[in-house]
């Protein structure tokens, strides 16, 4: 079970009793969902769902919302999650809040809606909002909270098979090929507590960045410049048109700090930068910075960290 899913369960418990929805056969995942608080687990046969983009999943959720009248629907933020949420909002006549970094109960005890926190305008503003019509639909960013495993064995975790009717209209955007992303062996970028990123200043050689990431147990990220130069796949891009991250520690190496990049990492708790250019805008954001060449600073730092461990 991915960490964002477990975070959703922890957030849901603040509002009410969580029911998890699993498309396909959960297998042993059902046990994990239970341990993290799921009272119910709806399983849905994925025959008419898995080959199509988004629309059938939205239909499943709409039918579940109609049947169970939940206090809210929580969906992980991401390309697919937000599109499911968008369709679901129109289908159910409900308001929608995306990319929440926190969900609090608000006045849900009296039938009110949960209150969300969002970080907007490249992290320059924090917004509190809530849905005022229908069933609140909220997409939640990873790293919104620490998942809580329940001490007493968890929720009831009662599994119930839900039969959804998928319309012909939903079975129209076909997935004709799928190449799963290779596991990097490192933490997932959007979920990691530490992100070590490289930009134009790497000159295309990410060895020092990757070595340092491994030394601190972090995920690897990249600026748009590095991705556009073909040095690293787009999946690693941090920024407005890539991933938005908010880790405990963000280390920017050879990254100037253009607004497009800052939008993706500005809310990180601690920011560190290594850059040859002392005028680089990234230094305006940092808690600590080194003006120097990342290709010498990072390997030296990596070695010192290894010595401390040893």
């Amino acid at each position: 079970m991915s960490k964002p899913t477990l975070e959703l369960l922890t957030l849901a418990r603040r509002i009410g009793e969580p029911s998890a929805v699993f498309i396909g056969d959960p297998g042993s995942a059902a046990q994990t969902l239970k341990e993290y608080g799921a009272e119910k687990i709806y399983t849905v046969d994925d025959t008419d769902i898995k080959d199509y983009l988004v629309a059938p999943k939205a239909e499943v959720l709409a039918q579940l919302v109609e049947k169970t009248s939940p206090a809210a629907v929580l969906i992980p933020s991401g390309g697919e999650g937000k599109e499911i949420a968008g369709r679901l909002a129109v289908k159910t006549g409900s308001g929608l809040i995306t990319d929440a970094s926190d969900v609090q109960p608000g006045d849900t005890a009296n039938g009110g809606a949960p209150v969300t926190t969002q970080s907007v305008f490249a992290g320059n503003y924090t917004v509190q909002a809530k849905v005022t019509k229908g069933t609140p639909i909220i997409t939640v960013k990873p790293n919104s909270t620490t998942p809580e495993k329940l001490a007493d064995g968890g929720g009831a975790g009662a599994t119930e098979e839900f039969t959804a009717t998928i319309s012909e209209g939903a079975k129209t955007a076909r997935i004709t090929a799928s190449e799963p992303r290779k596991a990097s062996g490192r933490p997932e970028l959007t979920e990691a507590a530490i992100v070590v990123a490289g930009g134009r200043g790497t000159g295309g050689n990410f060895d020092a960045v990757e070595g340092f990431a491994d030394a601190v147990g972090g995920a690897v990220g990249a600026s748009r410049a590095a991705v556009d130069s073909g040095w690293i796949p787009h999946a690693f891009q941090v920024g407005q048109t890539g991933k938005t991250v908010s880790p405990q520690l963000y280390v920017a190496n050879g990254i100037s700090g253009a607004i497009q990049h800052r939008a993706g990492m500005q809310t990180s708790k601690t920011i560190v930068a290594v850059n040859k250019d002392e005028e680089a805008p990234i230094f305006e954001l940092v808690d600590f910075g080194v003006v120097g060449d990342l290709q010498t600073v990072l390997p030296a730092a990596t070695e010192q960290i290894a010595k401390r461990r040893g």
Partner: protein, 265 residues
């Protein structure tokens, strides 16, 4: 083929973006422009037309305040054929749900004569950054949504994309009519040429209000929104901490000491 490229006029992201007293986005006090991510949508419309031939008409559509015409003009300069600007005071403060309603009705009206085949959007706006309007549009128009395409192939009767999904890279295909959204990886957006800038001056732009679309003012705008912002707070700007100059390895030592002091290692 009739293509509609949706574009949004947004506050410049490099300027000081703010909120009005009613928590709507200030679209007046800050310079605006065609949202960068929507340039890619216009570019893909132009590439589709280059591939399919002159029988293709590209209408650029924008819902926004008076100055949104700047966004439409830029798209016309890039090479779109005509523009539609939906402007109405009642639309101000609409949420994504309301915006998608207005856009859907505008698309239907654009297609009223010969029909419409393809709506192309950017992957998200650069102000709201929700990324949900393309899916909502498809839902309202009752067509497939083929979204977040990084490689786009528009054919006479279908669209195929490559999409870098959350866990896998996928190939997606659907028949027209449909809603397509494209990412900034889909191909560099062209700069308007001098010829394009001059030609744009003669291209027609229609202006429509809510009543032209048959949309009830009560369905849109701030008071009709299905979400409410309760408060906004400016984050205090980050203050610069310690910056050291690396000399013979001093940088690495200082960095490691900092990380240790914060218990990251």
């Amino acid at each position: 083929m009739n293509i509609v490229a949706c574009v949004k006029y947004v506050p410049d992201a490099s300027a000081d973006r703010q909120f009005e007293d009613d928590y709507t986005v200030d679209r007046v006090g800050v310079d605006g422009l065609l949202s960068e991510l929507d340039e890619y949508a216009v570019e893909q419309a132009l590439q589709a037309k280059e591939k399919l031939g002159d029988d293709t008409t590209i209408t650029v559509l924008s819902v926004g305040p008076e100055n949104a015409t700047d966004a439409i003009r830029k798209a016309l300069q890039m090479g779109a054929d005509k523009g539609v600007h939906v402007v109405d005071d009642a639309i101000a403060g609409s949420d994504a749900v309301g915006t998608s309603l207005v856009l859907a009705e505008a698309v239907k009206k654009i297609g009223a004569g010969d029909g419409w085949d393809l709506v192309i959007c950017g992957m998200a706006s650069t102000d709201g950054s929700m990324g949900v309007v393309p899916a909502m549009l498809a839902e309202r128009l009752e067509v497939p949504a083929v979204t977040l395409g990084s490689e786009i192939d528009v054919n006479g009767d279908s669209v195929t994309i490559r999409r870098d999904g959350d866990v896998a890279t996928e190939t997606i295909e659907a028949s027209l009519p449909l809603v397509l959204s494209v990412t900034d990886q889909s191909g560099e957006a062209r700069y308007p040429s001098f010829k394009g800038i001059m030609a744009a001056k003669k291209k027609p732009v229609e202006t429509w209000s809510l009543s032209d679309l048959g949309v009830d003012a009560e369905m849109v705008g701030l008071s009709a929104a299905w979400t409410v912002v309760e408060s906004t707070e400016a984050r205090p700007p980050r203050t610069q901490g310690q910056v050291v100059i690396d000399e013979d390895g001093s940088g690495a030592t200082a960095l490691v000491e900092f990380l240790a002091s914060k218990k990251f290692i």
